[in-house]
């Protein structure tokens, strides 16, 4: 058994070298909350491993030490049983002590986590939709309120408060390298404070089953230095870039004439739909369809031409377009940096 366990563990460790480098791993923390949690995970794992090994030794002992086999089942040695009772009592006592210790540890870890975002200056409202994330930057000045989708830019090194809710089903916001997950529940607002120590891009995805495309509901947290973040916010507040070139102009025209406009918003144009992602600066985002495709001209065209093939069940309908029309719309969207 032991040999098997060590083989399994060896196999697992080899695989883990490859996986730990992922950008969506709880074991690869990039913020204070995830660091605290990673430490907690390793501590619990270590302690549990010790307990498990002790139990396995106790189990293997009567097999490996080969004491004589019992013959009369009901003839018991009262003295030996009394000693065993003492051992069992001590083991139960130790178990209780370990559990009390772990409970206290977990209380204190919870306090540490709660303190991380107590002075957050920036509040972002994240609303879950089937199957994308609406991201709204709150500000006391109404004109500075910004709505975008799927990518959350934050200033690195500063705590940020996320207000999580949903308008349809329950989702769960989880960016493992920054913090633990928290659900987005219709009718409730949950508060999650996150902080990224360093600039970088951290992937996350929905962790509560939310229907057909639960698997393709990714999000990115992009932590940047404060100045770069402020510049990004200011850029995003600008209305959409006007189309340049005939093809893009035709695309802008088509966008307004076709069903696209029913669901999507493009700031500075009459397109004002709010049930689908805001496309004002869609080309500045790194992915399409909540992390399903990387942003490129080809992928934009593919997504518009065949949304149900790429993300079956998604609420993006197939819009009848001929090749020229598709090219025109893609040319327009591609310019929306």
């Amino acid at each position: 058994m032991k040999r098997l366990a060590s083989m399994a563990f060896a196999a697992a460790s080899v695989l883990s070298l490859q996986g730990c480098a992922g950008w969506q791993s709880a074991l690869d923390p990039k913020g204070p909350a995830a660091s605290e949690l990673a430490w907690l995970i390793w501590f619990f794992t270590g302690l549990c491993a010790v307990v498990w090994v002790l139990v396995m030794i106790a189990l293997a002992a009567p097999v490996l030490m080969r004491p004589p086999r019992r013959t009369e089942p009901l003839v018991l040695d009262a003295g030996a049983d009394h000693r065993k009772l003492r051992v069992v009592a001590i083991a139960v006592g130790l178990t209780a002590a370990i559990l009390v210790g772990l409970t206290l540890l977990s209380f204190f870890a919870n306090r540490t986590l709660a303190a991380i975002g107590s002075d957050a200056a920036l509040t972002i409202r994240v609303t879950g939709h089937q199957w994308w994330w609406e991201v709204r930057y709150e500000d006391a000045t109404p004109s500075r309120i910004l709505t975008t989708a799927n990518e959350i830019h934050i200033p690195a090194g500063e705590p940020v408060r996320l207000l999580l809710t949903s308008t349809d089903v329950i989702h769960s916001f989880w960016v493992p390298s920054l913090a633990g997950k928290l659900d987005l529940i219709p009718g409730h607002i949950n508060v999650l404070d996150i902080k990224a120590d360093k600039p970088g891009t951290y992937r996350g995805q929905c962790a509560e089953f939310c229907g057909a495309q639960h698997a393709n509901m990714g999000t990115f947290i992009i932590a940047e230095p404060r100045a770069k973040f402020d510049a990004w916010w200011n850029d995003q507040l600008q209305p959409a870039a006007p189309p340049t070139g005939d093809e893009a102009k035709a695309g802008a025209d088509l966008f307004l004439k076709r069903p696209c406009v029913m669901c999507h918003k493009i700031g500075g144009t009459p397109a004002g739909g709010t049930v689908a992602p805001d496309l004002t600066h869609v080309a500045s985002r790194r992915t399409l369809a909540a992390g399903s495709l990387t942003m490129s001209r080809g992928n934009l065209a593919a997504w518009i031409a065949d949304p149900q093939g790429i993300k079956p069940g998604s609420h993006m309908p197939v819009v009848e377009l001929n090749g020229d029309e598709l090219n025109a719309i893609v040319a327009y969207l591609e310019g929306l940096k």
Binding site: L4, A12, I41, F44, V88, T95, H188, G211, H214, P312
Partner: protein, 658 residues
Amino acid sequence: MSSADLTSERDLPPEREATAKGDVAPERDGPRDTGMDDASLHRWLARTWRTPPGIIGALSSVDHKVVARRYLITAFVFLCLGGLNAVAMRIQLSGPQRGLIGPDLYNQLFTMHGVTMMFLFAVPIVQATGIYLVPLMVGSRNIAFPRLNAFSYWIYVSGGLFAWVSFALSMAPDVGWFAYVPLSGPEFGPGKRADVWAQMITYTEVSSLAVAVATIVTVFKQRAPGMSLDKIPLYVWALLVTSFVVVFAMPAVMITSTFLILDRLVGTHIFNPAEGGDALLFQHLFWFFGHPEVYIIFLPATGMVSAIIPAFARRPAFGHLGLVLSLIAVGFLSFGLWVHHMFATGLPKLGASFFTASSMLIAIPNGVQIFCWLATLWDGRPVIRTPLLFVFGFFFIFVIGGLTGVMLASVPLDLQVHDTYFVVAHFHYVLIGGSVFPLLGAAYFWFPKITGRMMSERLGHWHFWLAFIGFNAAFFPMHLVGLWGMPRRVYTYPAELGWGNINLFITGGAVLFFLSFVLFTLNLVHGALKGAPAGDNPWDAGTLEWATSSPPPSYNFARIPIVTNVEPLWAEREVLPVATGLRVDVRELLISTVAEAHPDIREKSATPSIWPLFAAIAVGGTFLYSIFTPWAIVWGAAPIAITLIGWFWPKDTPEDEE
């Protein structure tokens, strides 16, 4: 050796004999077993207790062993179906962005896998084992309420058929086995899929409640004389506690699923936040059932472990009282931890922390059980046979599952691993390690009793190692891939996250684990057809089920044994003392007092009847119809009433006799 050879009459203390024999008017009396010679006693009892011949006879059977065998086989079929679901899912997940199975089918697959394994395999099979063994272990002739017991089987089968026919029609539930609203609600769960989930729950819970009630009454009132509370076998204690947990937990999920059906069909807004309802209410109700559900599956398995270890360690279980108290403590505590399934819903931090403490607390009675079993094994070199191998596998796997459970109990830690593959690994370690491995051990242990033949030891060893290696290869890496960020219930994942290789490895393990069940099936078939004859007590175990022949006769025991020890067959090596005074021309049971098991009254046990089947068809039809219209309850009431009248039609026989 037949049961008659083991039994002989012994002088009862005078007051007991008087009570057992009773003092009734002679004209209401028939032939008794007192003083009757063995041959005529067998003839009488065989005629009185037999299942009638023919198809109608078979469908009318109320013999607990016949019903249990059907349950066991049906549950095994569902296990195979659920296993095939799992293999299909694993093939889809063996590499990133595989296109074998789309989200629509995948979501049905994992829902059906969960629903089948929880409601159609795990709970029914542990209860079925109890239906078979409890009456034998307490020394009774049949289970209490045998017609209710037969009814429960028919309801269970119809619920299972309902779910799997829906799957064949591509209208199986696709909302996960816990079907959270609003995803399963009227707005986001179109079609009949969520209704199928909700009503399928009702079938299986009705059946489960019926078995629980029958088990409780059997244990409390039908124990052999002398089997006072301290002499009840641990397995029977486990089933008793489980049955109480069923009685208190199952109504919660029936309320949940009924509220859901009301929201979907009648237009209530119980779970609709827009109209003052609350989506989280569903989760509280569901998990108030859902957590005890884990213990409903696990506690009977601990009973099996407590039965197998003494037989191979060659001594009674160490710390019998401690083990019983642990069972009861686990039963109570299991109702106080449901919130640890909801830590990520943003509950108030202080309240959630309370559930960290309560979830940690349940590890203490479970620890007591583990330590007592280990102490039982320390006394001498155990006899290593296949059942004990599976118990060793249980220790290896379940302890890991229990310890990762301690990790999940911590609120902050849970927030990283909740709803990831870490949790998938955890609960498979708990449920497969804690329940399926003991069940497999139990299959090898009690197969000789059920069929009269032994299963192959050599195939058994192969089976064990294949299952053990396959299981760990499939599920251990899931802990890691969960920590690397892979959520549950995803039908695919992007290549750039680097989960491809480990998922391929997991799929390989899953295939091995599936193959181990093929080997098990071979061993079952081989054992049933060609196994060596087992004899009454092949393991030289100490509890009453081994006192009768293998397979047991329809009446279980020719004469009701008297119990003098928690392991009666070890205490009375030569002959078991027996109680006499039961009639042999009608189905009569000896009813005893709850605490001391003094013989109290003689009571009739129900005769075979076709009405439980008809009642189950009427009830099942009503449930099926009710996914289309609430009026089904009104129209269905009439046939249900008619079948129940048939079922309870007065027999014109005298009441219980003292």
